[in-house]
Subunit: 172 residues, 2 copies
């Protein structure tokens, strides 16, 4: 169909990360409002784990954001900017998401459109992985991104925050 | 780059659903083995919810599989085959996943490749939604699919099943 929108690796990456990061930001705002209304120690949520050897909520948000940042940078052929994991509050996590969104917006779409075959390397030493851009995005970065984003949601839901799937899907 | 693999709506859909559905099948096998080894009532996991008004494990698997089936069918321009939600055991859920994988394998790749601009409708009545194929896949079907697949994983993890993120990412 000549009227079809172009299906592209850019459309499958940056706008998707943007959608779910914006959802996480909205969910964080609801969690913070809940904590304030109930006079709960914010750390009770921020450090909550669904199981003792799982990562706490704050790390889930940091890692989700990092998969978005890493995928955007690598697909654009740029070095991945390191962000320190120093967030201690809901406001800090909001800033982390905002910084990640601004970074994604800064990436040249034309470079990402050319990235399906781009050689991409992640990790180092024994953990080095080699991908082409398409495999990296679809089978590695997006599954990891959704895994951490959903687990962040599930941690809040398990703790009684009044959010629903619509908050996770967000707007697009 | 002339050597780039083609980035296509087929590659962003069926092989991705296949990857994560296969992961869920492997995770189900580990959960069933755990239940047998510990002599736990399987329903303790199959009906477990992370919060009273969340859906239980069995429904998370059914719905994840249904988003894969629905996305595959709609992108291929086919009616979505209804599957009854009658699963009661781990073996039943394995069959549900196997049936879904076989359905995805049956879909004509060429039809899906043409689907970025295909008009897609989901739901009925007040819940009717209209999409083009690309928006439907990237911003609706895949987020919902990952949401339910990850929540199924989180339910098992929260209950001490020895699985890790590698089991979720699986092979691709």
């Amino acid at each position: 169909m000549s009227s079809s929108p172009q299906f592209s690796i850019y459309s499958a990456s940056v706008p998707v990360f943007r959608q779910i990061l914006n959802s996480l930001s909205a969910i964080l705002a609801k969690a913070e409002a809940h904590v304030e209304a109930k006079k709960i120690d914010p750390a009770a949520l921020l450090q909550y784990r669904l199981y003792p050897d799982m990562l706490p909520f704050t790390r889930q948000i940091q890692i989700a954001a990092d998969f978005a940042k890493g995928a955007g940078a690598r697909l654009a052929g740029q070095d991945v900017p390191p962000y320190e994991d120093t967030e201690k509050t809901f406001a800090d996590l909001q800033q982390r998401i905002a910084k990640t969104l601004a970074f994604l917006d800064s990436l040249p779409q034309s470079e990402i459109e050319n990235s399906a075959g781009r050689a991409i390397t992640t990790g180092s030493g024994e953990k080095t992985k080699h991908f082409d851009g398409q495999t990296y995005l679809l089978h590695y970065a997006l599954p990891h991104f959704y895994f951490h984003a959903t687990t962040a949601y599930d941690i809040l839901r398990h703790n009684g925050i009044e959010i629903g799937k619509k908050d996770f899907i967000g707007t697009y």
